[in-house]
């Protein structure tokens, strides 16, 4: 079924953040730190403040005087204490940190005024990368911590050390995931207006979680939550990048209150690239013990995570905590131990991006299995089969307390082998090798936690979702839901779910999301949760209404079946009676046809041993890719890719495929082109889309998708799908490229598969290409 949202989006009638002009709208620009680490010795605003068109020039001191409150990560020890004001006070700790806000009649004038500010910085030594941060004598971001380590945590099953010591074979490796950015095509932004008579702040924000944003903005602005309404309009993507509750959103609220003007901040691309949220940088030191059959008997992973400057409302620690809980994935590793050293550096804050800590964990587990296959000289597929969870029991309890409820993984691998043509690809690979070409196959056998939460750690991320479903007197249906579509097509998905449950056509259903004025609370969209949680809430509400409809129909002498389509005349009679003729309702039946449901599957409560299942359910995705690599130029060509996917009950196969194709493209971008880089002095080197290159239509082949659904036990049977492709792909691609180059002895231990990285890995083996090919590679480099 095509999407209902498409007609407006195709014709330019979508209303994104910057499409909400109102009379008297003013614009906000921020002066951001130009240095990675510096003391602010003084700020001279005089020239900026007197520029024609400028309404306000605001510093941290002005905000404090106006009643703004600092934000904090809301974490208890052992996390280091940390709070921060909306604008930097006395010291800046990353390039891009906001220092001064300007409000002016136009964006151009606001930016002119920023140029006129005189901010006197006293430069301090930068801290770039975890190694520099943890070196003895390193400059400290927060001297009161006495270290740059934001937190050190450890966890382990009882027998890791013994199992490692007794293991027939050992493997010790380091694997790195490099820094990237989610990069929605519409950058972040917010628009605020203050109604002094009602004491009401309205904030339009391109935000994935409007209700939690309301909580945070109310707190920062010193307002009651009831005094703030947050509206998330059409969004030009999110991917986690719009999940954090940013200083800028709170600033827009405060500036609207302080100036009394409606005003908008709309990030430009450079702000988005250098001063929003980066993701992924982790190094894993892995120690694995395994037996002669390739079964892992123990895995120990020491994770070092670069948090950047950790001033994110729910701290950037979230993804790292997911990483250390997801190290066994869909595998029956009997003993797992981990440590996490999360380190602050003077770089952009690190936080959420589609996958949220799982890609890094998955990289390590898949790399370990590939390396075991190499060591034992067996097929990496067989090593996976030896380690995958057995078909029973379910749930399978993991080392970290996970209650994995996935389907039969071995059956999915069988499908992967058949549909991908695994053995045929191995045959082609052998032929190519004998012809001097380098083909490789990479595997990812992923079990992904979905609909997650981190109770007691990431504050204000509950595991519930809210939906209000109403059958109106004319028998049309409205659905309001607390999730927030960023382009996934929720208007269509939830309409289909509601229509199916109520027995009406999907065209009868209108879906609304992204408005705190419509629903008491909601949790937004992230963590592959929307269909599981929002869909669960919608289906539960519809089932309740349908029971009421059936009771009313029976009382009227009409027939309304428990399932399947409902006769239009019967529905019309029931709806009209419910709203307009209460004396004809059966005794005890609630009048009207509207209900609000707050739904939780209830599977993520802490258990007695202190562990917690962090995911309401789990989806499974078996991926294989075939690549050809030119060792001379380092170029990688994807020849084929296939995913066997179990995301539970599939509501709309086209939209699920769209999620897979899109995540596949982001995964390719992640490894083949994208990297956020910094100079040694902490200056961002990627400030435009010309130096942070995302895939184009020339770069992304088609992913083949095969569905093998197993309904979950959640209401509706959904499992979630949004992040899977991006979790799976880096691991699969690194495996494939290394496999292609294995005759040369190439080993790849990072997610960087850019041509220079591959050439460096090839050079490290001593292999030397034909000089003409090197010349071509040089041209390629200059072109990039």
């Amino acid at each position: 079924m095509p999407r209902t949202e498409d007609a407006r989006l195709l014709t330019g009638l979508g209303r994104y953040l910057a499409d909400h002009d109102v009379a008297g709208l003013h614009h906000v620009a921020f002066a951001r730190s130009t240095l990675a680490h510096a003391d602010i010795a003084g700020i001279d605003v005089a020239a900026a403040a007197t520029l024609d068109g400028v309404v306000a020039v605001v510093t941290a001191a002005d905000l404090r005087a106006a009643g703004a409150r600092p934000l904090s990560h809301r974490l208890a020890p052992p996390y280091q204490p940390l709070s921060w004001e909306l604008l930097a006070v006395d010291r800046v700790r990353h390039v891009g940190e906001p220092v001064v806000a300007v409000v002016a009649a136009s964006r151009a004038v606001a930016e002119d005024a920023v140029e006129l500010l005189d901010i006197d910085y006293r430069e301090l030594p930068p801290v770039v990368g975890p190694a520099a941060a943890m070196a003895p004598g390193a400059p400290l971001l927060y001297p009161e911590w006495g270290t740059n380590e934001f937190v050190h945590l450890e966890g382990s099953t009882a027998g890791v050390e013994e199992a490692l010591a007794a293991a027939p074979h050992r493997l010790q490796e380091s694997f790195e995931s490099h820094r990237v950015i989610g990069l929605p095509l519409e950058a972040h932004g917010a628009q605020g207006s203050w109604d002094p008579a009602r004491g009401q702040l309205t904030l339009i924000s391109s935000a994935q979680q409007p209700h939690q944003l309301r909580s945070v903005v109310a707190e920062a602005c010193g307002l009651r939550e009831a005094a703030v309404r947050v509206i998330s309009p059409d969004m030009g993507g999110g991917f986690g990048n719009k999940q954090h509750f940013t200083r800028e959103e709170c600033l827009v609220g405060m500036l609207a209150i302080m100036t009394g003007r409606p005003l908008r901040w709309s990030a430009d691309r450079t702000e988005a690239l250098t001063a929003s949220v980066h993701s992924r940088p982790q190094v894993h030191h892995v120690d694995a013990g395994f037996d002669d059959r390739g079964r892992v008997v123990a895995l120990r992973v020491a994770v070092t995570s670069d948090l950047g400057h950790p001033v994110l409302y729910f701290s950037g620690i979230g993804p790292s905590l997911v990483t250390v809980g997801a190290l066994s994935g869909g595998y029956a590793f009997p003993e797992v131990g981990w440590s996490l050293s999360a380190v602050a550096t003077t770089t952009c804050p690190v936080g959420a991006y589609r996958g949220f800590g799982q890609p890094q964990a998955h990289l390590s587990t898949e790399r370990v299995l590939d390396r075991i296959a190499q060591r034992l000289g067996v097929d990496p597929l067989d090593v996976r089969r030896a380690n995958l969870l057995p078909a029973e029991p379910r749930p399978w309890r993991t080392y970290s307390g996970g209650l994995v409820d996935c389907g039969d993984l071995h059956a999915m691998v069988d499908t992967l082998v058949a549909e991908f043509g695994y053995h045929e690809w191995r045959h082609r690979q052998a032929e190519a090798r004998s012809a001097g070409r380098h083909l490789g196959v990479g595997l990812s056998t992923l079990v992904q936690g979905t609909a997650p939460n981190q109770h007691d750690t990431a504050a204000r991320f509950g595991s519930l979702e809210t939906a209000m479903v109403t059958v109106l007197p004319d028998a049309t249906v409205t659905v309001a839901v607390g999730t927030k579509s960023q382009g996934q097509g929720h208007e269509t998905v939830f309409a289909q779910i509601a229509a199916d449950a109520l027995g009406v056509g999907p065209e009868a259903v209108t879906v609304a999301d992204g408005d705190t004025g419509r629903l008491p609370y909601g949790q937004g969209t992230w963590g592959s949760r929307s269909t599981v949680m929002g869909g669960g809430a919608v289906v539960t509400a519809c089932r309740r209404l349908r029971a009421r409809m059936a009771a009313i129909a029976a009382h009227l002498g009409l027939t309304l079946p428990e399932e399947g389509p409902v006769d239009a005349d019967v529905l019309a009679a029931v709806a009209a009676t419910a709203w307009w003729v209460q004396h004809r309702l059966p005794p005890g039946v609630e009048p009207g046809l509207s209900t609000t449901v707050t739904y939780t599957p209830g599977r993520t409560n802490p258990s007695a041993d202190g562990l917690q299942n962090h995911d309401e359910t789990y989806s499974s995705h078996m991926t294989a890719v075939a690549v050809e690599v030119d060792p001379a130029t380092g170029s990688v060509t994807v020849l084929d890719a296939l995913c066997v996917s179990d995301c539970g009950v599939v509501v709309n196969p086209t939209l699920v495929e769209g999620q897979h194709q899109g995540a596949f493209a982001q995964g390719l971008g992640n490894v083949l082109w994208e990297e956020v880089r910094y100079s040694p002095d902490g200056q961002p080197l990627c400030a435009t889309l010309l130096d942070y290159t995302i895939p184009s239509s020339l770069d992304v082949p088609r992913l083949r998708v095969v569905h093998q659904p197993t309904p979950s036990a959640t209401a509706g049977g959904f499992r979630g799908v949004g992040e899977a492709g991006l979790i799976a792909l880096p691991a699969a691609m690194v495996g494939a490229v290394e496999d292609a180059l294995s005759p040369l002895g190439v080993r790849l231990n990072s997610t960087r598969l850019h041509p220079p990285a591959i050439r460096a890995a090839v050079r490290a083996t001593g292999w030397r290409p034909d000089p003409a090919a090197w010349a071509a590679a040089g041209l390629e480099d200059r072109r990039r």
Binding site: L10, G487, A665, S697
Partner: protein, 158 residues
């Protein structure tokens, strides 16, 4: 300093006073309220702001509004309507060639431009034509399918 600009937008005369530094993108959005043209990067890299200038596809973020004086601009607002989609729009809808929709107006205009020039493009030509329109959501599969289908449905002699 502002100066007057007169041009034709979507078939009708239009005029506004803008500073010399105002981009065509900003003038279309702020002066004429045509918000279907989107600012993706304002650096000429992403193609979200694509419009037709005298029938040729251009990036409105890289042009000054004053450069459009006396010329003809076509934006997404002139292409189809929700109740009557252009064949390219209909094909994008049918083939799930959009998700968030932010790049979509630029994609629609680029695809129309391609089909004006090449009656029967193959997949490679479609991918080449769309290479300047970055999409972060779809992975391009549905988008390429849609443009190929639109070309096919338009039939020979187009």
């Amino acid at each position: 300093m502002s100066r007057p600009v007169r041009l034709t937008v979507n078939g009708a005369p239009a005029s506004f006073d803008v500073e010399d530094r105002t981009t065509l993108l900003d003038a279309l959005r702020d002066e004429l309220g045509l918000t279907g043209t989107h600012a993706g990067c304002e650096q000429g890299a992403c193609g979200a702001c694509s419009v037709l200038l005298d029938g040729e596809i251009v990036r409105s973020c890289l042009l000054l509004a004053v450069q459009a004086g006396g010329r003809t601009v076509t934006t997404i607002e002139a292409v189809g309507s929700p109740g009557r989609l252009h064949p390219v729009q209909e094909a994008l809808r049918r083939h799930h060639g959009l998700q968030c929709g932010y790049c979509t107006p630029g994609v629609v205009l680029t695809a129309i431009d391609l089909l004006e020039r090449v009656a029967d493009p193959d997949e490679e030509e479609v991918r080449e034509a769309l290479a300047g329109n970055l999409c972060r959501c779809t992975g391009y599969a549905g988008l390429v399918d849609a443009v190929l289908a639109a070309a096919r449905d338009a039939g020979p002699g187009r």
